[in-house]
């Protein structure tokens, strides 16, 4: 007999689906089947069961091979590395729980590190733009129940957030959207004819890198002013057509992704997208939402925000929080050799940073905490495997619309395996000893382990 765990949260993407059902063996050690998840979500649960999984920390040897060490040794190495560094970079945080993030921040405060999360290569541009011009936003539930015009700009949810369309944005029937996708107009803007664009009512395949121009052209069109014949590779007739659809929405939303945040212009592209949304609010009700990637990158921004006032790139090396993207962001720090140790948890810069930054990590004292083998773990001095958050241990996570949910534990981790909150708490306690201070008001290791 097997038992089924219901209302499970998927710990992969920012859609944070909360309707998964996972069938587990009676002794609670094996996942047999995953229902309702998309292919990526299902793989995440099933891969946690892989027979060849690494279950103990490994230290890099002189010849580049790895040798198993105990968790105690790993904790000591990590604590010594952080305590001895002048300015360690503590990067990642987007694939772990808010509870673990909070313990990590305590360590950063004690050792004077820089805390940065994956927004730095993802929606950091958006966070800067939001600080510049604000953001008119809403929840995914409101979109399901109200939105009749949905724009996807520089994002491809069919691939990156596979259930977004079916759960929230296009297909579901909601309170005021009883006709489902038949009652919704879908506009997609992208330099490729993506699988998402193939489903759209209006697909605008713009010239790569011309998002700012097209956004500005829309603002001109809303005002009924004249435009050049072609802007960003799109004819002015089509721009006016799209502008009309947007203005005539009852409730509209723009979802945007890496196509705008990683393209030249970056935060200025988002400024302009937000101003398009603001303009549209003179005609109707419009919102804008960032398609956040990792399942808890939003949570990392929230925890950093309420503890230090900044959503990423927070430099604690001077004893108070500083934030200056371009200076305190991971890639700039690495490029300029401004950090002397790297601690990575819940992310894989080895695969997702430009190689010039990865080269710097490989040359520094480095620790990677990750359940998987990744390019980061294979260039770090120490790899600490941990239990999968959302599969083998619960914890708080934030969806892309800033709503928190509690992820669930569905199976036991392999025997003797630590969770990241436990590992971090032990490192924090040891760092406190090395630095001669116990952080005030923090829960003890025992409390975190019991939680």
């Amino acid at each position: 007999m097997a038992k089924t765990v219901t209302d499970v949260i998927c710990p992969f993407c920012g859609t944070l689906c909360d309707d998964l059902e996972v069938q587990v063996s009676d002794d609670g050690t094996k996942i047999l089947e995953v229902y309702n998840a998309c292919a990526i979500g299902a793989e995440k649960f099933l891969h946690s069961q892989a027979k060849d999984r690494i279950t103990r920390p490994r230290m890099q040897q002189e010849d580049g091979s790895y040798k198993e060490v105990s968790y105690d040794d790993a904790i000591e190495y990590t604590a010594q590395m952080l305590a001895n560094a002048k300015k360690p970079l503590m990067y990642g945080w987007s694939s772990t729980s808010c509870e673990a993030q909070s313990v990590g921040h305590e360590i950063a405060e004690t050792v004077g590190g820089v805390v940065d999360n994956t927004a730095t290569v993802c929606h950091g541009s958006s966070l800067i733009a939001i600080q510049d011009v604000g953001i008119p936003s809403c929840t995914l539930g409101e979109i399901k129940n109200r939105a009749d015009v949905v724009v996807f700009w520089g994002c491809n949810p069919s691939h990156a957030h596979p259930r977004h369309l079916s759960r929230y944005s296009i297909f579901p029937r909601g309170f005021f959207t009883g006709k489902g996708h038949k009652g919704r107009k879908m506009i997609v803007v992208d330099p490729r004819n993506t699988d998402t664009m193939k489903m759209a009512d209006i697909g605008l395949q713009l010239e790569q890198g011309r998002d700012y121009e097209l956004l500005s052209a829309l603002r001109v069109a809303f005002r009924g002013e004249d435009l050049p014949d072609v802007v960003a590779g799109i004819s002015k007739e089509r721009i006016f057509e799209a502008a009309e659809v947007l203005k005539n929405a009852r409730f509209g939303v723009i979802f945007f992704g890496m196509g705008v945040t990683q393209t030249l212009g970056k935060n200025h592209n988002i400024d302009e997208a937000i101003m398009v949304t603001k303009d549209l609010n003179e005609f109707t009700k419009f919102s804008i939402i960032a398609m956040r990637g990792h399942y808890n990158v939003t949570g990392s921004g929230a925890v950093l925000g309420w503890q230090f006032g900044f959503p990423f790139a927070t430099d604690l090396s001077r004893g108070f929080a500083r934030y200056n993207p371009g200076e305190t962001t991971s890639n700039d720090l690495l490029r300029r050799d401004e950090v002397d140790a790297v601690f990575v948890l819940g992310s894989d810069p080895g695969a997702h940073f430009p190689i010039s930054s990865v080269r710097k990590i490989a040359r520094l004292p480095s620790v990677a905490v990750d359940p998987h083998i990744t390019p980061t773990t294979e260039i770090s001095k120490l790899h600490v495997p941990v239990a999968f958050v959302g599969v083998e241990v619960g914890g708080c996570c934030y969806r892309m619309d800033n709503g928190p949910s509690e992820s669930r534990k569905v199976v036991e981790p392999p025997e003797g395996m630590m969770t990241d909150a436990e590992f971090l708490s032990r490192v924090r306690d040891r760092v406190g000893e090395l630095k001669g201070k116990a952080p005030v008001g923090s829960p003890s290791t025992a409390q975190v382990q019991g939680a």
Binding site: H47, V121, R192, P325, N331, I355, V358
Partner: protein
């Protein structure tokens, strides 16, 4: 047919990239999903190679060998796509221009035929490149 062609490179997620990444980045499936470059049929013609030939991609920032496949979400002549991962990041423009974000999209690249050069696995590729 040309020795090499110039294209504009972007990268991003694909569902195969997501599944393969969760299945293990050290596994061959991840190389199959991300060690590729998607090129428009018109650009295949200009370069004069068959589909599924290995090619060398070079930018001002690095060089990498990947397998050229036909664009799955095209047409997009002049534009090339490498799914996000270490192969794309071997050649992308790392400059943040003072705001923190590397310029992952819109890197000018040269693509040339490299039939006999292998596509390295993610771990091997990164371990090799960090030593350079």
């Amino acid at each position: 047919m040309a020795d090499s062609i110039s294209l504009n490179l972007i990268s991003g997620r694909t569902i195969q990239q997501g599944v393969a990444m969760e299945g293990g980045k050290e596994k061959p499936a991840y190389t199959d999903a991300c060690g590729i470059i998607e090129i428009d049929p018109a650009d295949f013609k200009r370069l004069g190679v068959y589909r599924n030939t290995n090619v060398r991609v070079t930018s001002d920032h690095g060089t990498v060998v990947v397998k050229a496949i036909e664009a799955t979400q095209g047409p997009h002549p002049g534009l090339a796509y490498i799914p996000m991962g270490p192969w794309a990041n071997a050649v992308v423009n790392p400059n943040t221009y003072g705001m923190g974000m590397p310029t992952f999209k819109g890197t000018p690249i040269q693509v040339s035929i490299a039939t006999n050069e292998p596509v390295l696995s993610s771990v091997k590729l990164v371990q090799k490149l960090v030593k350079e």
